[in-house]
Amino acid sequence: MEYFLIIVSAIFVNNILLAQFLGICPFLGVSNKLSTATGMSGAVCFVITLATVVTYLLNRYLLVPFGLQFLQTISFILVIAALVQMVEIVLKKISPSLYQALGIFLPLITTNCAVLGVAITVVTKDFALGGAAPHMLNLGQATVYALATSLGYGLAMCLFAGLREHLAGCDVPKAFKGLPIALITVGIMAMAFLGFSGIV
């Protein structure tokens, strides 16, 4: 039950893009076409889940026992940067087709604040789910949270890319062209997602 609540809350209620504002730059940058949006979502999903597991273990078994939590920011970002590089190398070797699909997005992901944001959230924030007392997530829950969050990212990204493909053909006033109208569209989408609040 708890896993189910984590999933629903991460995908719909606290959608990472529309409610938490993480990873907005690539969201606005690559959502022009549905195909690039799916590619980026796949890459983000992969990296967020992997990075969260690694940083969770790093925090649990290295930083906390030695009282080094103040090094979280700097160590997490370095681990994420190294991890992204490694994923790129491994993917190139073992699955060229997947590399073709995700490759160009991987370097962009290091500076995607969604990755660092989720990694920091799971080790610092107390979660209160379904009336239970607030507590830190364990490794399994943290992994599920990361996976669900990145699915929420993919959902919002693909929905928005679909809308934006239609926007491209619309006659918008000159001052609204490009980003302004896109932002207003996201605003309306975020309003729709507000409708989910309260179900968890």
Partner: protein, 194 residues
């Protein structure tokens, strides 16, 4: 006064929010009130100025291939310094801005200025550029915060001048996107007129 333009450029020509469209996450997330926007802007400026100074000093010694990891390490160091300072001296602000203080590390403005300006300019110029872009970012965030606070809670910098709650949506997520979108439209109109 020939160096004055390093500071003024950050306001209009290179405005990080409305022209370069960088650092959108803190822009949208922390501007629920004018004060929060101002605090976030100043926190970013702190990191921006110091990392610009250090990066312009070390850039000639760093091999090209490893420059990005080096820059990120420098920036992350100053973010950690900022986190510790804020925890000690402004715990309330640290609490409200929360996650977005450590996330200054991945703010594209900071890395963007390191890569695009500080590594090929002198220390003084880099410091001025950091101040300029930082002030531009702070100004944009404060303006967005002011609009959202007036519409969303009927107050300004915490001073309440309208009775009642205001339009709640403007303090919540959708308002951030809408206000930024419409302000960008106004900014485009202003640029087109010039």
């Amino acid at each position: 006064m020939s160096k004055w333009h390093f500071i003024t450029d950050g306001f209009v020509k290179n405005n990080p929010t409305f022209v370069l469209v960088l650092g959108m996450c803190p822009t949208l997330a922390t501007t629920t009130s004018a004060l929060n926007g101002l605090e976030m802007g100043l926190a970013t400026m702190f990191v921006l100025v110091l990392s610009n100074i250090v990066i312009s000093l070390v850039a000639p010694m760093v091999p090209d291939k490893v420059r990005i990891p080096v820059y990120i390490t420098v920036i992350a160091t100053f973010v950690t310094v900022l986190q510790l300072l804020m925890q000690a001296f402004t715990p309330a602000a640290y609490e409200t801005l929360g996650l977005f203080i450590p996330l200054i590390v991945v703010n594209c403005i900071v890395l963007g200025r390191a890569e695009g300006f500080a590594n090929k300019h002198s220390v003084g110029e880099s410091a001025l550029d950091g101040i300029g872009v930082g002030l531009g970012f702070t100004a944009s965030l404060t303006v967005i915060g002011i609009v959202r606070e007036i519409l969303g809670s009927g107050s300004l910098f915490g001073w309440k001048f309208l009775p009642g709650d205001g339009i709640l949506a403007f303090v919540m997520a959708p308002g951030a996107f809408l206000v930024l979108g419409y302000l960008m439209v106004l900014f485009n109109k202003y640029l087109a007129k010039k």
